[in-house]
């Protein structure tokens, strides 16, 4: 047997956007624990699941996004473990990439390819939903009046990022 190899965790994780050049107003969310929940559940890790459609619940560092009836997405610190529960609990931490879209042009930037009405009245702070951005499906959560958290499947991340870059060009990006 060869010598013990270094544990992989010590090696760098590589996300699909690690080498993408920055877009003003768009930053990469840090790695996190993502858990897909399905089924008739009330709590995850002791946190009550939001029952109002299209709303996220925030508890300390953990956000739980209502995605559909009996369906939630947990966004928690990367170090958190997956907690089993009723229904289906699946770790999808690496399935997606998070982007923060921030600033007074955030809505305009998103509306370059997202058909949602992002006016504060129509999509208030705390609102979350799956929707589309160009040809990609995304999950959008408004964390603040001028801060959106966008989740996208990792193989679509490059596309979404490039499209944001293209849309941001006229605001002085590039």
């Amino acid at each position: 047997m060869p010598d013990a190899l270094p544990p992989l965790a010590a090696l760098a994780r590589r996300g699909p956007l690690d080498r993408a050049s920055p877009v003003p107003g768009v930053t990469l969310a840090p790695p996190m624990r993502r858990v897909a929940l399905h089924g008739d559940m009330s709590f995850y890790a002791g946190i009550p699941l939001p029952r109002t459609p299209l709303r996220a619940a925030l508890s300390d560092e953990t956000a739980i996004l209502w995605l559909g009836p009996e369906e939630w997405l947990v966004l928690a610190p990367a170090c958190d473990n997956v907690v089993p529960g009723n229904g289906s609990v699946v770790d999808v931490s690496h399935r997606q990439v998070g982007l923060h879209i921030e600033g007074y042009r955030a809505e305009t930037l998103l509306n370059a390819a997202c058909p949602l009405d992002l006016d504060l009245d129509a999509f208030p702070v705390g609102a979350c939903t799956r929707t589309v951005f160009g040809k990609a499906q995304i999950t959008l959560w408004r964390r603040d009046a001028a801060l959106f958290h966008l989740e996208v499947a990792r193989s679509f991340a490059g596309y979404v990022h490039a499209l944001l870059r293209e849309a941001a060009l006229e605001f002085g990006a590039g």
């Binding site: 992989l8 994780r13 089924g39 289906s88 009405d117 990792r154 596309y159 293209e166």
Partner: protein, 907 residues
């Protein structure tokens, strides 16, 4: 500002349209008509212009044909050219068509050019094509950018004339989210040619611009109203700038969802139909007024105003105030008739007649005031049904359209002066109705005589209203003439359909951002960069990029693939299988759900074991396949094909929600969660062993078709013992962010075992040697499991599964195409995929086709798979693969060419 037109330099004022600038410079000849190449000047001052179409050349790829001189804004240094003329606008050889006009009536091409057969396409058609066509298409890939944006508002106001401005101001004052768009460069509409209105206009606009809830878009055409109050706007962002910032798009598409739409699009003036009404210098009254008052460009020195309503007097007054001499105002309501005009490149006389008295009046400008047609285009697109207003001589909005109102002139709301009815037509001589397409009143009458009585037929036979202006100035006159010819009323004849776009919209604008890699997402795996570094040649599979092979110096694909195959058979190869779809099926009823979805039986599959699953459509044909691992009694890890991933998940979810809602089972796509690295070959275990943190992966503990959860250098891992190559093999699943590192770690180990990377092409060869099918290659949506030799996979005891009933339909019996192998006499002959197979060389009935064919890297001869009618009954028979000019004899074999007992899988 300086610009050139057909190479000659001119000066323009800020705010000029090209038409205004040319007129101020005394240029009235601006274009040639479509069919007869007749000399033409402007007819109108806005987007409805049919005649003055020009090409603007901004250098390189940025050349645009067919732009309206009345809309193009001049910038310093602009290069404009006329079109549809050879060699010049003044002397156009195409004008010979005008001499031939008597022989070119509507539809002349339907009546001749039929002899000899084939001559149409070779001889006549090219001639006709060259003569037609207006401008020259751009010939270099466009270098400009285009963007798009979705927007929402409470009120979208289309048109910023007095009516639109009032509506916008009111809505803004009420605190609503307002958008106001106007296709012109400035807001104001008809107010812009009314100096008295300037102050009030300024004030209204200032308030709107100051309102943060108001979005003001000039140079923005509302081109279409679509379902549920979606309005398409095309904004021209930089075409008017001499030197645009490259970061700015040329144009922007807005898709606006408005709670309410206010259409305030105004009205369009109608020309009068009289002989010779098309010469340069003959234009709409309002256009003449706009050039004179708004642009300070008098369109003539000596004008005759011909009118059918009271606005003629206003036009005469305003022209006179601008210094134009008014030779005469001829009010058609007083019994006058225009008998003709003269002047080759500009009008010089107009002839009139009343009560037999004829007169020729010298002039260089004829202003036509034929009444006004409300712009009901958008209202009609929104499915409003207009009604005919005889006093106006036009259609006006009638039925209600939910959440849409028309206001101002486009609603027919015009003072009495504008009311004209439809003016009488003199159809003697050549009186033009559709100016661009050269349709005359006589042409329309002829069409009705030839039996084209529906207005839609008349339109298509004569092409009236089909030009780039879509008949904005001509349709209503055409309607009047056809009604007259048929002795019917205008409402009986009816309108042709108003379609999008209101004015033409650039393809680039509609395509928006979409270009190159933004046309469709380019999906890559976490190991993509490593494949690039290893020199991979990629192929597109769906939206994914997959490494096809890894050529070394001087290797072509064939050599590289042969080497990669041998490597897998002899030692070990690694392959990126990340793109396969993966679904976690979880819940107490997971096994039951799987039983219903797949043809296989799942109940007895033990946790830790895998099975090859086949999924059908309800039509009984193979839809997808993949290995399924049971992780726990209530948890399956399902894999699908790369291309089928989304489709399979959607189909499963459909059944789960709508067919079997009682089942406690849920589906989670984990395709992107896992990086999947296949390690295949006799030394696969040896390569992996040091990496799996002491996991026992011996054959005894981890036999073929098993799965365990463990760690890979400390990282969570799902390890499958599966093989698509025919060799002992594993598939390492690690969380995607670790794919890159895991690949490097495995790569080092594989290298140490004399192995290396292989791509999809080698994967295809290896599996074909084993007779494994690829869904979409062996199957094509018409193959049952039995056809491709998978009947064994059907869970015989199961009462039902998707597609089961279809397998016993009567049409499924009889001789079916079945999967077999083919061998050629010459082991080096590789058959062609898709080639057809017959029984003998003189029988052309196809028995089937070659689905896969390869050199057969390890079996020592070429191999092929084929779907052949009753193929399994033909084992050993000789058939013919039919190639151009020859046939290749092949022997039908079993589809498995390598290790038929499967001994190597169990190693």
């Amino acid at each position: 500002m300086k610009f050139t037109f057909d190479g000659r330099p001119y000066e323009a004022r800020r705010g000029d349209t090209l038409a205004a600038a040319l007129i101020r410079n005394g240029v009235h000849l601006m274009g040639r008509s479509f069919k007869y190449h007749r000399p033409r000047g402007v007819l109108a001052a806005g987007a409805e212009e049919p005649n003055a179409l020009v090409e603007i050349d901004r250098g390189g790829a940025r050349r645009t044909p067919n732009l309206r001189a009345t809309v193009v804004e001049v910038f310093d240094g602009m290069v404009a050219r006329s079109q549809n003329r050879t060699p010049s606008l003044r002397f156009d050889v195409g004008a010979v068509n005008d001499l031939l006009a008597p022989f070119l009536p509507p539809g002349f091409y339907y009546k001749t050019f039929m002899w000899p057969i084939g001559a149409w396409a070779k001889l006549y058609e090219p001639l006709i094509r060259r003569a037609a066509g207006l401008g020259r298409a751009p010939d270099l890939p466009d270098t400009d950018r285009y963007t798009q944006r979705f927007a929402h508002c409470d009120v979208l106001v289309i048109g910023a004339g007095p009516a639109g401005l009032a509506a916008a101001a009111e809505a803004a004052a009420a605190g609503m989210r307002v958008m106001l768009c106007d296709e012109q460069a400035e807001f104001g509409g008809s107010l812009l040619s009314d100096p008295a209105a300037a102050a009030g206009l300024h004030e209204t606009l200032a308030a709107l611009f100051a309102n943060p809830r108001a979005t003001m878009l000039c140079r923005t055409t509302a081109f279409g109203i679509y379902g549920d109050n979606l309005v398409g706007l095309a904004e021209r962002v930089t075409d008017h700038l001499p030197d645009p910032d490259p970061a700015l798009p040329r144009e922007r598409l807005w898709q606006v969802r408005a709670k309410r739409i206010v259409v305030a699009a105004g009205a369009i003036e109608r020309p009068l139909v009289f002989p010779g009404n098309d010469r340069p210098g003959i234009m709409l009254g309002d256009a003449a007024r706009i050039f004179a008052t708004r642009y300070g460009a008098n369109p003539g020195r000596n004008a005759v105003v011909v009118t059918a309503c009271d606005t003629g007097a206003d036009v005469a007054r305003d022209l006179a105030a601008s210094g134009v001499r008014i030779a005469r105002v001829i009010d058609l309501r007083e019994g006058f008739r225009v008998t003709g005009t003269s002047g080759r490149l500009r009008v010089s006389f107009i002839g009139i007649e009343r009560g037999g008295a004829r007169e020729k009046i010298p002039c260089d400008l004829v202003a036509m005031c034929g009444g006004w047609t409300p712009s009901i285009h958008l209202y009609s697109q929104a499915r409003g049904k207009p009604r005919f207003d005889a006093a106006l001589g036009a259609f006006v909005p009638d039925t209600e359209v939910s959440n849409l109102i028309c206001v101002g002139a486009c609603a027919g709301d015009m003072p009495g002066a504008y009311r004209a009815g439809i003016a009488p037509v003199s159809s003697e001589g050549r009186a033009f109705v559709d100016f661009q397409n050269d349709v005359t009143a006589k042409d329309l009458e002829l069409a009705t005589r030839e039996g084209f009585r529906s207005i839609e037929h008349v339109k298509r036979y004569t092409t009236t209203g089909m030009a780039t202006d879509q008949g904005k100035t001509s349709n209503i006159n055409a309607l009047g003439i056809v009604a007259g010819a048929l002795g019917a009323t205008i409402p009986e004849i009816g309108l042709t359909t108003f379609r999008t776009p209101y004015t033409p919209v650039t393809f680039g604008t509609l395509a928006g951002h979409s270009r190159g890699d933004l046309f469709d997402p380019v999906r890559t795996t976490p190991m993509h960069q490593l494949a690039v570094a290893a020199g991979a040649v990629f192929e597109d599979v769906g939206t994914w990029k997959r490494a096809r092979y890894f050529p070394r110096a001087a290797e072509d694909m064939h050599m590289a693939v042969a080497r990669e195959c041998r490597m897998v058979r002899d030692s070990v190869g690694m392959f990126d299988a990340t793109t396969l779809g993966e679904i976690e099926v979880v819940g107490a009823d997971a096994a039951e759900f799987m039983n219903r979805v797949y043809i296989n039986a799942w109940t007895r599959l033990a946790p830790g074991r895998c099975r090859y699953g086949v999924m059908l459509g309800e039509n009984g044909f193979v839809m997808d396949d993949g290995v399924v691992g049971r992780l726990a009694p209530d948890r399956f890890h399902v894999t699908t094909t790369t291309g089928g991933a989304a489709r399979v998940l959607a189909a499963m979810e459909d059944y789960r929600q709508t067919e079997w809602p009682e089942l406690r089972v849920w589906l989670t796509s984990v395709s992107e969660q896992w990086a999947v690295i296949a390690v295949q070959g006799p030394r696969a275990r040896e390569a992996l062993l040091p990496l799996v943190d002491g996991l026992d992966i011996s054959a005894a503990v981890m036999p073929h078709m098993s799965v365990v959860e463990g760690t890979f250098l400390g990282i969570e891992m799902r390890l499958f013992r599966v093989s698509f190559s025919g060799e002992m093999g594993f598939e390492v699943n690690v969380p995607a962010d670790y794919g890159h590192a895991a690949w490097e770690a495995i790569s080092a180990r594989v290298g140490a075992c004399q192995g290396g990377l292989y791509g999809t092409e080698a994967m295809h060869v290896l599996r074909a040697e084993k007779g494994f099918i690829i869904v979409g290659q062996e199957t094509d949506g018409t193959a049952t499991p039995d056809d491709v030799g998978l009947a064994w996979a059907i869970g015989k005891a199961k009462p039902d599964f998707i597609g089961k009933r279809s397998l016993t339909r009567s049409g499924m019996s009889g001789p079916r195409r079945q999967l077999v192998g083919l061998r050629t006499d010459d082991p080096a002959t590789v058959l062609e995929e898709g080639a057809q197979i017959t029984a003998t060389t003189d029988d052309n009935r196809p028995l089937g086709h070659v689905t896969s064919a390869y050199g057969g890297a390890t079996v020592g001869h070429s191999i092929a798979l084929a779907m052949i009618e009753s193929g399994r009954d033909r084992l050993g028979a000789t058939l013919q693969v039919r190639m151009p000019g020859r046939a290749i004899a092949v022997r039908v074999t079993a589809p498995v060419f390598y290790d038929p007992e499967g001994a190597r899988l169990d190693a």
